[in-house]
């Protein structure tokens, strides 16, 4: 167990007192109280689930302060001070730690040092230090990863805090909004935002169904900001399987051309749209209730803390008009239309027919976007428009250019476990409007046209970057990002690959905005409920700063770049930057099977066969098993389909920081060729699992009688493994210059390929070896040729550049 806490503030004592008083933890007259009464009174506040003194005493009698004395017994003596060890023994029990399991011999201080939990140095603790200690305790994280005030909140601390006589208001503690709002009465409603699109060409502007969950306190005049998640999956999905592509086919030679970027650049033209609907009246009351719930526990956490949450599926989803375009400019416009309404710049109606307009009268106009994957992608898209009202984005595992999702260097490259998927397949998946049969029947011709357009535009036959993909490259418009920006990504995410976040980061670096980056060791997963890091607290600090104007200095408090270590569990590094272009790279040459820093002595040409497809297809077609065999040092059925080169064992630990680049001199005995290259960490080690383990199902309560979340952690695998994939990359040999230009490929003539693997941050332990594997077909990502081919690699002209963190 280790608790990394980056979002906690250390205000001065007077501020601590003010905050404690404001949340009624400290009585106003505390400084006049007898020290013993103060101490007893503060402990008594730690049991909000009970009502009277005898019940508190009963609770305190269950907490040990020394091996043979309970907190109740200790307090019965009316002490003015408490030994530091006694205080923290009690504190750890209040935080959910179990002495017998977690801190033997009641040695709280040793445990807290080990786990990284903060303490007050004074010993014994008395007077002001008691107040300081309780302030610190309230912001200290418990065994379930939540801080103590959140634990108290879940047990009812703030129940009824905003009494009827008060004007409802936000309550901040340690710079973060608290769950004082009545979650049993959340207002749930639906409106229809009128976009400036007519993507289904029905002569009317596309209406966008928008689902709102807002604190009931807004009805009493409180204005609140919004966490908005654009979620194409919100109203359901369709079965993609019928439209997936067969990838069991040879790679097609492409006709050489001299296409330049300007030939494929997308230039946006505002579409002509029908006139807006007539507004027949206005109202402040909606008339439709949502049928779906929120989908992200982080949003629910903030809903209890006064942030409204808003979900919209966008064009082509059930309840909305329009058709989907899988990341196209229309989807961006559809996404920001909701923000424009929230900000007061666009009309919404209470329903699809009556023309009665309704404003987001309960909203401050300040909006943050959240979400993972496609949801986070649309947040990136929105940020690049500079739309008013959008104040910040927390974008997780997001695509920043769709070419980097479905393509790479002139090849069709599937996201992991998604062979045969493409933009049209995903469009079918998210086109939930299809579920309303009569609605679908009316726009079926437009749907068919969209599918045809996507098929044509994505140009699966060539794999090249073209205007279609350029229109889906949000990074082109990165300079329009005027807002503070947070990116979160898994370093083992082979669905949305890390290039998406890294290339965006390269653009954000020099923008005059605050930007933060979180890189965890997971796959395509959330990180908000990981025990070892206070992500939720950091987001609370961030949203309060960005949306509510709380002067908590969040941009300075949060690390610029937070990276989870892959070798040591529960360890999160804070860095100033990641993958800087200027980082020096170590160059490796190849001799025999060795990667070494000295240039090779002699020329050497090696070869491998690309004939694994029949064997793969005859088996259980598990690309993960295939990949494990490919990476294995041991001889196996696929060994002849690769070339593997290894460094000597590392003398000391090293950290790869950014992008490994390879230069390969390759020939193939046919007119088309695909090269895959993988970087591998070899060394027998128990490694982190890329799927976090559930430590406690529903172990986090996000409010009082409100939503719950599991507590998770990235744990070590039970058994040591021999290797781990660090990164990989792919290139079509005809796209050795650019992804839009096709070069000629003559059988058996060597060409130079120079390409980057996916970026990473990877800790190589001393004694481990870095491996570089060169092969052709990637069963899980590329097409799988049935025709065998022979590839040759000229080692003398090949090299690998690795950026190491200083």
């Amino acid at each position: 167990m280790k608790f990394n806490q980056f979002g906690r503030l250390d205000p001065d004592f007077s501020e601590q007192v003010a905050e404690l008083t404001q949340i009624h933890f400290l009585p106003n007259n505390w400084s006049e109280m007898a020290p013993a009464d103060l101490l007893a009174g503060l402990f008594a506040r730690c049991f909000p689930e009970v009502s009277n003194a005898s019940e508190v005493a009963d609770r305190e009698d269950r907490v040990l302060v020394t091996r043979d004395m309970s907190l109740a017994q200790r307090l019965a003596d009316r002490p003015e001070k408490l030994a530091r060890g006694e205080f923290y023994a009690a504190a750890l029990q209040l935080l959910g730690f179990i002495p017998a399991d977690d801190f033997p011999d009641l040695d709280a201080l040793t445990a807290m040092t080990k786990w990284g939990l903060p303490t007050i140095a004074a010993d014994p603790l008395g007077g002001d230090d008691v107040v300081r200690a309780f302030y610190l305790l309230l912001t200290t994280r418990g065994k379930n990863g939540q801080n103590f005030l959140d634990l108290l909140t879940a047990r009812g601390y703030f129940n009824g805090f905003l009494t009827a006589s008060d004007a409802p208001h936000f309550v901040f503690f340690n710079g973060k909004s608290q769950a004082v709002f009545d979650t049993s009465k959340i207002v749930r409603e639906v409106v229809y935002v009128e976009s400036s699109l007519d993507t289904d060409h029905d002569g009317q502007r596309d209406l966008l169904q928008t689902t709102i969950f807002r604190p009931v306190e807004t009805n009493a005049g409180l204005k609140v900001p919004v966490l908005y998640t654009a979620n194409p999956y919100f109203r359901g999905t369709n079965d993609m399987a019928p439209s997936s592509y067969d990838v069991n086919q040879d790679l097609t030679p492409k006709v050489p051309n001299d296409t330049s970027y300007s030939d494929v650049a997308y230039h946006h033209a505002q579409p002509l749209v029908p006139d807006a609907r007539a507004v027949t009246g206005t109202t402040a009351e909606t008339s439709e209730r949502p049928v779906d719930d929120g989908i992200y526990s982080l949003n629910d956490y903030f809903l209890a803390r006064g942030f409204a949450t808003v979900y919209a599926g966008g064009i082509g989803t059930r309840g909305s008009d329009g058709i989907r375009t899988t990341g196209g400019p229309e989807e961006t416009a559809s996404t920001i239309a909701i923000i424009e309404w929230l900000h007061g710049d666009r009309v919404a109606f209470t329903n699809r027919t009556d023309g009665v307009a309704i404003k987001a009268w309960w909203c401050t106009g300040n909006v943050a976007m959240t979400g993972k994957s496609y949801l986070g992608t649309l947040a990136v898209a929105a940020a690049t428009t500079g739309v008013k009202g959008l104040k910040t984005v927390v974008s997780e595992a997001a695509i920043s250019s769709w070419y980097d999702y479905y393509r790479e260097n002139g090849l069709v490259i599937a996201p992991v476990d998604c062979q045969g998927e493409d933009t049209d397949v995903l469009a079918l998946d998210t086109f939930s409007r299809r579920k309303d049969a009569a609605d679908f029947a009316r726009i079926k011709p437009q749907y068919d046209r969209m599918m045809a357009d996507l098929k044509k535009g994505q140009d699966r036959a060539s794999g090249n970057y073209n205007t279609f993909w350029d229109a889906r490259n949000y990074r082109k418009n990165a300079d329009q990002i005027k807002i503070d920006f947070i990116s979160v990504h898994g370093l083992n995410d082979w669905n949305v690959k890390p290039r998406n976040v890294e290339q965006l980061w390269q653009k954000l670096r020099d923008l005059p905005i605050n930007k933060k980056l979180f890189l965890h060791q997971g796959k395509h997963v959330y990180m908000n409920n990981i025990q070892s890091i206070d992500f939720t607290d950091m987001m609370n600090l961030w949203f309060c700063y960005e949306l509510l104007g709380v002067a908590n200095d969040a941009p300075a408090v949060l690390p610029n770049v937070t990276v989870q270590d892959n070798a040591t569990p529960e360890t999160w590094h804070r860095y100033a930057d990641w993958s800087e272009p200027s980082i020096p790279k170590t160059q490796y040459f190849i001799t025999g099977h060795d990667l070494q820093k000295q240039p090779p002595h002699q020329e050497e040409i090696v070869s491998f066969q690309d004939d694994g497809t029949p064997l793969f297809l005859a088996g259980d077609q598990d690309a993960h098993k295939w990949e494990a065999l490919m990476m294995s040092r041991q001889s196996n059925v696929y060994e002849h389909t690769r070339q593997l080169f290894l460094t000597a064992p590392f003398a000391k630990d090293a950290y790869i920081d950014g992008t490994i680049v390879v230069t390969l001199q390759v020939a193939v005995n046919q007119a088309a060729g695909q090269i895959s290259c993988m970087a591998i960490d070899y060394g027998t080690e128990r490694r982190l699992k890329a799927d976090p383990t559930v430590l406690q199902a529903k172990g986090q309560q996000l409010g009082y009688g409100w939503a719950v979340d599991d507590v998770k952690e990235f744990q070590l695998e039970k058994h040591p493994s021999e290797f781990h994939q660090i990164a990989k990359g792919h290139m079509n040999m005809q796209n050795r210059h650019t992804p839009w230009q096709n070069d000629a490929l003559t059988p058996n003539q060597f060409v130079t390929l120079h390409f980057a693997l996916q970026p990473t941050e990877h800790h190589i332990l001393a004694g481990h070896q870095l491996g570089i594997m060169v092969y052709a077909t990637d069963m899980g990502m590329t097409v799988r040729p049935n025709t065998a081919a022979t590839y040759q690699l000229d080692l003398n002209a090949s090299r690998v550049e690795v950026p190491y963190r200083r």
Copy 2:
């Protein structure tokens, strides 16, 4: 997709009208309405999430009735009747089915026949038939497995149904209680029931913390029944690993004895207990709020429908007094103490110290118990006491005798994946009182005594049935069961093995009570959210009958025995009985490797080695992989450790109904021996997975803005498998007569073992073969001897008896 629906009532028309009127689906003046208005009005009730006519029309305009006409367009013509096909095309869409995916060509009637959904025969539908059709529709199950009225409820149909002016009351439809209660205001409270136990010997009766969730309408005078779940895990668990036993050891020879049952029979003596606490006052208001949530979605479903839910951990759990005894009589008394309070027969206090008593004034006194595993076990225990107030039990995957959980025929036999566990290990697991360090410190000596008592009583060294186990055999008291009883069990549950439910069923069969049995194809899992069967609806019918006195004839409506077919998905058989003692058994003899109905011609002695442990321990120690190798027809490293006999391929389908019994003539070359025997279904087939697949995460809403559950189904495996384990059994060769008597075992002398495998219900498809495998060590369940042994089997004197359903 197939929908088995056993809990639907078909009342006569006047009753249908009365019920529809009562829930305001049908206007009181319906018979005076123009037929077109009636039809339109009934459809309009199907969109409770919107408020006005234009919004309803918009919704209706999204539903197709013919290929080119929407429901809105159809109703705009003011039809008096609707073609049957049109009505059901619309109905299926309202039920969540998607034409393009689920019923191509809008052919609703063909689909409904295939899926088993009921329809009205009239065509066209008009007049009273329209009313009948809507009544039927409301009770018809949708794609997520819930009936249409539940779907409407989730969308707000009953929101505000009980207005402030009404006296709150239950609303029944089709014999089932509806979710008219306000789940946003559930009352959550804690009381402390005073038991008549002092298991921690502190001189005070054990107080039992009891958590209550009750409808807020009880505050307005409504009395409600209770679903009570005795849940030792409710307040948390401890890590069991440190106290688990090492099973890598030889089987110990036992000293022969002539113990008879009377020597080990347990005779209950009421313990002496301290006087009750003084009652210092009374109150109607509790003062403590619970910190944990409910744990069973079925309970939550009923909480929205007016049934309070109550959870108690029992003695030795956090917040309660006492120590745990893993199924001992003290736990039974602890369990029923809660019912006694709910029924008005026992005192509870608002807290642990002040002596203020509180009654369950909001309760009718009628209680049902629910729960799975240990939770269901305690329901069985409670039922065998005849405690007043307990009206019925729905016990899932329950232990009926703890010997059948941790032991078998004189052997220590672990539940699957629980090697090394025993009663003391489980007692540590559930002794959550340990988490309160000061509380634990005070009773540590009693805890140590309990652990010593359990270790001694369970007598792991012998594995024999003794007084300790007899005290934990609830079936002994089965004749005390005076209440209607439902058992649910998985036929692939190797945690709580099916003998537990089967042996209880043998006792229940002749009791003058209503009893029902559900056998699914799962492991140790719930079945309330399985798409293909209306378990929740049946339970609604049952609880309304048992707890609220609704005259819905539930005992006659529900099948006696409901069994899921293992070969055909989504198929549930209804039988009059299961595993009747009188069922004729087919006898198989053994010749060579064949099981055949003719007696063998000649004597044959075969042997196998029991030497697999070193190999197993050298590998990854995965008992499931080991078991798959053992069952495999193919030659493999464990083949010499088994003898496998197979029938000829079955000429036609057969159903094993109950218990396979084997008679084996065996010798072993040492003074102790353990025999395992397995029945296996051989045949290449895609089989049902024993873990249900999530069809739709959170796809069931259990009320309006209330709890959710996943929709699940037992699906076929992706690839065909060669075999499936039907049942197995184990016996210590020294316990060949009884589990309490040790017989001498002479090395290499043959003895006759006669024992039952676990009971089952299994469909063997034509062309498959039944296999019987005989072996010694069961890596996942028995001790794993390091000393190799040779077993001999005299085939001539061995046979297998199999009960087939007629």
